[in-house]
Amino acid sequence: MRQALGVVRRNEWVNGRYKHLTVYAPGLAQVSQAGQFFHLLCGADVTSVLLRRPMSIYQMDPGRDELHFLYHVKGEGTRLLAEKQVGHTLDLVGPLGHGFTLAAPWRHVLVVARGVGMATLAPLIASARQRDVAVDVILSARTAADVLGEREFQAIGARVFTVTDATGSSQPEAVRMRVETLLGQGHTDAVYTCGSARLTRMLGEVANRWGLPGQVALEEHMACGIGMCQGCTRVFRREGSAVHLRVCREGPVFPLAEVMDA
């Protein structure tokens, strides 16, 4: 974990709302894990936007010394990030937090991603497939055009299901039925999710009912990203009591069973 200067290699639109950012940052991909994040300085100075913006690692490419991010251009911070040109420097702090765990004996996992939550789960899916773990992915988005990653995940051998608001198939109850069907096939060892509070609650209930381990990557507004400000804490169920934990430091990935206020 450190403060470093990377260089923008690519920063391109993948659809009308998301951009894919590739940063040359020697030594960082090697020490990054799926589910961890970087804290990016989006503006040129602290007065344009004061705080850094947390972004999950979307891909790490140690061979090319590259980090990839997939981000939704949402407000002022990501707008400034979207303006970065090839060759510009990018000040980044990370990798931060704790990533996903994929226990050695697990052979089959289920991943539920909503929107840009897919970016956070992408490196998990990639590393599971590398270890030849079977992966079912449910991708939820507003419209079919907003669905990202379908072909990318299929190409590495994941089974992908897409659900959208446009067709009503993304309703938590509909997704629950899909999940239950997949779990009913009897092979799933663990479930993962990111991107939606409602889906997180749903998946937590289902995982609990099936006695399956589950993990979620949470988002919370952050100031420091490194554990100092206590701005990102949320309440979790741990060892029988409610504890305040920092999403940036103890998370952003938490056991589904510990989540209380998703």
């Binding site: 974990m1 602290v46 004061l50 705080l51 507004h221 490194i226 100092m228």
Partner: protein
């Protein structure tokens, strides 16, 4: 060029340089980014006697060149602080100054007693100014009489240097500073955050769970700098300036306005290595202008 002397004296305490983190914007975690011993002192997040949860979320909202926070004072309680946190700081030589927060003067005194028996503790910052603890942002530091009362009890409870952290949400901060001096404080820290608010116009809800919170960051610097200037004119004890610092120039403004040392808050979030760079920038300025010691600059503004 020979390097200039950066050391300053806050009462009995010698600091190797005038730059330290502000309470609540620093923790052990920063040791992964910078050598803590390069800092003038180490000020912790305010701790309380008992366990506290802090405020409900959201706890943060960004504003123009500013940050609103309504963290409150989540705390593991002083017993656990002594057992778990203090040992970490034994590895460092930079003087440790825990910040203490209480609901009553007696609580402050009790905290002072408990911490005074710990050799690693080299001073106490008395946070009488947290705007989130009580209704509508009131705090001890909004009243010279209450300020005197708390500081007096802390003074009587400890031989450690005692710093009073004042609130900027007052009409005359100089009056409150004088009350703290009168009570025996060794320094005043000027100042905590300004009470502010922000609303999400799409949801019509306050952006902070606590409705109001404290404003920090570059936005507030002109206001706090003015307060440091006002306070330094009337007190005999050192003033520690804190508000919006993000460069050596900002530190210099505070020193010239009358501060003997400064604290860096929000900027630590933006640049974990920021304080070390600021200290280097200070050294450069002194050399470029031929000052032998940073102390020559204290209160040197020409008005």
């Amino acid at each position: 060029m020979t390097s200039a002397d950066l050391s300053v004296q806050i009462g009995q305490l010698s600091l190797r340089n005038p730059v330290m983190p502000a309470s609540g914007t620093f923790s052990e975690d920063l040791a992964e980014f910078i050598p803590l011993n390069e800092l003038g002192a180490l000020v912790t997040k305010s701790i309380t006697l008992d366990v506290r949860e802090g405020n409900p979320g959201p706890r943060l909202a960004e504003t123009a060149a500013g940050l609103l926070n309504a963290i409150g004072i989540p705390s593991k309680g002083v017993a656990q602080f002594i057992a778990e946190t203090l040992p970490f700081y034994r590895n460092f030589t930079a003087p440790l100054v825990p910040s203490i927060s209480g609901d009553t003067a007696a609580e402050f005194a009790r905290l002072a007693v408990l911490l005074s028996s710990e050799p690693v503790v080299r001073g106490l910052e008395v946070n009488i100014s947290c705007p989130n603890l009580e209704d509508d942002g009131k705090s001890f530091a909004m009243d010279p009489v209450q300020t005197y009362r708390v500081l007096r009890q802390v003074r009587q409870a400890t031989r450690l240097p005692v710093w009073a952290k004042l609130s900027p949400n007052v009409q005359s901060i100089a009056e409150v500073a004088l009350a703290a001096q009168e009570a025996g404080a060794d320094a005043v820290v000027v100042a905590n955050t300004l009470l502010g608010m922000a609303i999400d116009v799409e949801t019509r809800r306050p952006k902070l769970g606590n409705v109001t919170g404290g404003l920090s960051g570059p936005a507030v610097k002109p206001i706090i700098l003015r307060m440091v200037h006002q306070v330094a004119k009337v007190v005999r004890i050192p003033v520690i300036g804190v508000g919006g610092i993000r460069s050596a120039e900002d530190v210099l403004e505070y020193l010239m306005a009358g501060a003997t040392a400064v604290q860096v808050g929000t900027y630590n979030f933006v640049h974990p290595q920021g304080m070390v760079e600021v200290i280097a920038g200070l050294q450069k300025y002194l050399q470029r202008h031929g000052y032998a010691s940073v102390r020559e600059l204290i209160g040197s503004v020409i008005t």
